[in-house]
């Protein structure tokens, strides 16, 4: 009995230790956002003594934060919309039809996850220049959509596989086309899958840095991750107070969304890998 309760305590201590290690850097970020620059350096780990909101005020009023926020919102929401429009039919086709090239398509889709960013960006530069999309948000939106495709198509295919074909056949007898039966019958039954795709695409687009850095050429077009990275000035000089406030402002929306959508995201992510 005693060894069992020791084990019991060790288990909880172990988990709590892990969680503290995972949470500690985030707590520091929150502290820094509420401290003045001098306090940050006098007590790098302490709880803020006099809470100041000046960092937030500075970020919102004196920097390009709002412009970059607008860019990020536009790109992320367009990516979600485009991702759903593109991946739902593709997932449906993979689930319902047998066609030549089906395996090739799936393999290519999965393989894209390993393509080096540098090769893609060098190649995309030519494409985007031809279509005048360098330094334009649509170019970034299409790229982010393509990054979300492997996961999203795969996840939706899994969801559609579970919906009985008979349900659709009933609708088709009533004169529904394939597309209409997808929209009217299949999609309403796959809401958790669509929420997972939406959460995943939004997080991916909101957080993506490399392509946003390379494709956008000036501050008016940067998204928030690039805005944040530019806080680190030449020579590595950083104002940690405002930077922490900005980083917090960038993280809070995705954090809230993640908390709401994590249930769907987790079951979607793990579903395909278990069976």
């Amino acid at each position: 009995m005693r060894s069992r309760s020791v084990k019991h305590i060790l288990l909880h201590v172990g988990v709590i230790l892990f969680i503290c290690l995972l949470a500690f850097p985030i707590v520091l970020l929150v502290f820094n956002a509420l401290k003045t620059e001098t306090e940050i350096f006098e007590s790098p780990m302490g709880i803020p003594r006099d809470i100041t909101w000046s960092n937030f005020r500075h970020v919102i009023l004196d920097t390009s934060f709002l412009i970059n926020l607008r860019n990020s919102v536009l790109v992320a929401f367009s990516t979600v919309l485009l991702a759903v429009i593109v991946t739902a039919p593709a997932g449906y086709a993979l689930s319902r039809f047998k066609f030549r090239g089906r395996t090739l398509f799936s393999m290519w889709l999965l393989a894209t996850q390993a393509f080096p960013g540098i090769i893609m960006v060098l190649g995309l530069f030519t494409v985007l220049t031809v279509y005048g999309l360098i330094n334009r948000l649509p170019g970034l939106i299409i790229m982010h959509t393509s990054f979300s495709m492997p996961f999203s198509i795969w996840l939706l295919k899994g969801y559609f596989d579970k919906i009985p074909v008979e349900l659709e056949e009933a609708a088709r007898i009533d004169g529904c086309s394939r597309l209409r039966s997808l929209i009217r019958v299949v999609l309403p039954l796959s809401v958790p899958g669509l929420l997972a795709v939406g959460t995943f695409s939004l997080l991916l687009s909101w957080n993506e840095f490399f392509f946003a850095l390379v494709v956008m050429r000036d501050n008016a077009h940067y998204t928030l991750p690039v805005y944040l990275a530019r806080f680190v000035g030449s020579g590595g000089v950083v104002q940690w107070g405002p930077l922490s406030a900005a980083a917090l402002l960038v993280s809070i929306p995705v954090f809230l969304l993640f908390m709401l959508g994590q249930r769907y995201l987790v079951s979607g992510l793990t579903g395909g890998a278990i069976k």
Binding site: F18, Y92, A114, L243, F255, T270
Partner: protein, 295 residues
Amino acid sequence: MSAKPATQTRRWHQERQALPFILPALLVLLGVSLYPLIQGVSRVVYAYRALTQQTVFVGWENFSLLFQDPTFIRALGNSLVWTLTSVGTMFLLSYSLATMLNARALRFRRLFRSATLIPWALPGVVVSLIWRYIFLSGGPLNALLASLGVAHPPDWLTNPQLALWTCIIANIWMGIPFVTIMLLAGLQSVENQIIEAAAIDGANYLQTQLRVVMPSIKKVIMIVLTLEAIWTFNSFDIVFVLTKGGPGSASITLPLYAYQNAFMYYQAGYGAAIGIVILLILLSAVVLYIREVLR
């Protein structure tokens, strides 16, 4: 004999039906993945000559330069260390965390599981910036070390021996949630009976994990390891924000060195050559990954 044309028309019928559904995704794939891949790879045979300010055809030159370039060799070695130690440590830590989160005796399980996921929601740039602050020479980590009595805490970001490891720690921290949640889902699917059966046969804890539990969640483990290895090898944010590959080229990785060549030194062809090396190295991981997913 007569059945063959019938199935063929039916096949054709299915392809015609499937095409409109697959078309938007196919167009995006062709335009944003196949074409750029070919175009990007083809850049390798060109080089920009600063003297004449012209881009000229150079054939294999960019490749032959690679192996005489000490920075490339350094980046290659760093990338392998960065990926193998990151993914290896992530797996060990995440596996132990996942088994703890899966323990039936654990209270507040849902709460703990959600808390584990937190770092995952943060943008990579934010994660990198937080760790840059933690590792600052006058920052929180060194303040902690000083209070523990360490006389001369190291300069984590500017010490050539430490810079890469500093980046690796940040990367491990960021990767743990995803790996843990995938492994946890795998562990939840393992029947309790087989673990009890192993216990009856006299297997100890480690034997049970290695011989019984891990083999039965082999698919999840393979997927999560290959995917995480691919992401880590291609990762750019952390090293870019923490050290920019420095001091000197102490912590440079292949993606960062490729970026510097293509966008800072105007050597797109050389950057493409490095990109092709990355692609070739990742090929084996991709093949393993695809085989597991399509199984």
